[in-house]
Amino acid sequence: MADFRFSIDLPVTSRWENVDLLRTSVQSCFTAVFQDVDGCHAIAMVTGELLENAVKYGAWTLTPGSFRLRVEGGERGATITVENPIVPDDPNVAALIGTLRWIGGFANASDAYRAKLLEIASAPRGGSASGLGLVRVAYEGNCTLDAELGERAVRVKAVLRL
């Protein structure tokens, strides 16, 4: 049997409209290669959440321009990596690392998801970032999440198991 697969590695400008363009593009690639409806929704959701975080929390005022999306997919899963610029002592990076540790503190992603929903429901409206996107990636996307910190960039990687 042929080894059907796809890979995408793109420099992307930090515009909101690119989130939807790339989310649907990754979805179409996955469907074109595997014709897997459930898998294509999962990979699109994960790609969209990570891209939204990059556009929302990247250090665009100091380093305007591009971030990077990498997606590699096979029949058993996919790896989605988004890399965006950061500044020294970036509070968004601390929040990211905190959320990943918080997720990792639960026995499974389902428990983390339920706890996050309860936390959001009991918090005052209009508060700060909820961190729900990463929890969705872990639970709904069935992903293992990881972050690598560089001097000027953070790379968030989601490994999706199908």
Binding site: F4, F6, L10, P11, T13, A32, V33, G65, S66, R68
Partner: protein
């Protein structure tokens, strides 16, 4: 920063539309340029159609989009049957294109030929569209047995960030 995309897909016609959409959206995200989006989508679609039409059924087809020093390169690689006339006809078509003064002239000649013969299916118009509408230089690599690899090269559009 360079872009790279590679898809290995089954030899099935219905995959082409999805890939064309995916390529177009990637191109918009990277270049924010409708002309580049339309050109890349069309080039991928035409090359994939040729691969599906003339390639060995059951064999996979690989599409890649990358960059080299000359610009963007779209490459489609597929297996062909030993008895296929496609490889020699494709080579002839590319040679004929190179002999034309410019892609516009080739396009006009190709359309006139189709009009005279009334046959679009085997017209080779796809390759001419890639050269004329897609602004591509086309090369064909047949060095591997029973495999044809077609490269379509065009200048890289300015990245969206570079224009902003």
């Amino acid at each position: 920063m360079r872009l790279a995309l590679e898809l290995v897909v089954p030899h099935e016609w219905e995959r082409i539309d999805l890939i064309r959409e995916a390529v177009g959206r990637c191109a918009m995200a990277v270049f924010a340029d409708e002309e580049a989006k339309d050109a890349l989508s069309m080039v991928c679609s035409e090359l994939l159609e040729n691969a599906m039409k003339y390639g060995s059924p059951g064999a996979d087809v690989t599409l890649s989009i990358g960059e080299d020093a000359d610009g963007l390169v779209v490459t489609v690689s597929n297996a062909v049957d030993e008895a296929s006339r496609h490889v020699s006809e494709l080579r002839e078509r590319i040679e004929w294109l190179r002999g034309c003064a410019d892609p516009a002239e080739a396009y006009t000649q190709a359309l006139a030929k189709i009009y005279a013969q009334g046959n679009v299916d085997e017209s080779g118009l796809g390759i001419v569209r890639i050269a004329y509408e897609g602004g591509c230089r086309i090369e064909c690599d047949t060095s591997q047995p029973r495999r044809v690899i077609v490269h379509a090269r065009r200048p890289r559009p300015a990245a969206a960030g570079a224009r902003a």
